[in-house]
Symmetry: C2
């Protein structure tokens, strides 16, 4: 897979087809806009708020969790950066993906973390959720789905 | 300013005060949760979709625009990474801030860009908007405000 190409698809093999379909039935057009439920849009963006979560002050473990989530969603990781704050111990980090990004900001003192999973093309951000939920063992998880770039 | 400390505030001078107030009247508590309109939450997250925009395939100019926006919001930039895709020419990039992040993903072939401005503490993400609007000269801008980590 050529990481320099915005993919949104698992395979880059040449094809005359203008669209591909992922396992959930969402179509990805050639410019990687998605078509689902009669809507055409650039990408699916999940805003995930975790409460009563653990492991929010360990940058290495947090990075591993995000990488596992990205891999589960079949995304291509281009770059990662994780910052550990003091004295709070909180972590801010991001994975830049060929299919957009996953970011996290944690507040260990509150047991809270804000995660964003933004994926375009044929990658499904929901596939990243199980790994993240398992890693942080949050007792309360709020997920808001935002469709970015809806074509009107 | 010690960039290793999650600030959310312009000044780090020692104070006995548990809260500070920014120009818009929003209070930032000592763990940098915000109190506004009777709500307490971790941060303000703007989802900005730009249409009929220009300059979406120039990574250097895009980075400069995001940095200008971050500076206008008085945020502390910790790290930046910008990726230029081919053949589409699209750019994906992020600034990791002490106050969270600003990210962008562009689709030059569609004249579309998806920007996220997530700021906690006393930084106001709306202050970053003018620089971004000016840089991309989008004819249509949709802004969705999401409050992350609302305390119930």
């Amino acid at each position: 897979m050529n990481a320099l190409t915005r993919l949104g698809m698992v395979s880059e093999s040449p094809s005359n087809a203008q669209t591909t379909r992922n396992a959930e039935g969402a179509e990805a057009t050639k410019d990687y806009f998605i078509e689902r439920d009669g809507m055409r849009f650039a990408g699916m963006h999940l805003l995930v708020d975790l409460w009563e979560a653990e492991g929010l002050d360990d940058p290495a473990a947090i990075e591993a969790a995000l990488r596992e989530g990205a891999t589960a969603a079949r995304a291509t990781i281009l770059h990662g950066h994780f910052h550990h704050f003091s004295p709070s111990g909180g972590v801010s980090g991001v994975l830049v993906l060929a299919e957009s990004h996953i970011s996290i900001h944690t507040w260990p003192e509150r047991g809270f973390a804000a995660i964003d999973i933004f994926m375009c093309g044929a990658c499904d951000p929901y596939r990243a959720l199980p790994a993240l939920k398992a890693a942080f063992r949050a007792r309360r998880v709020a997920v808001s789905e935002q469709r970015r770039g809806v074509v009107r």
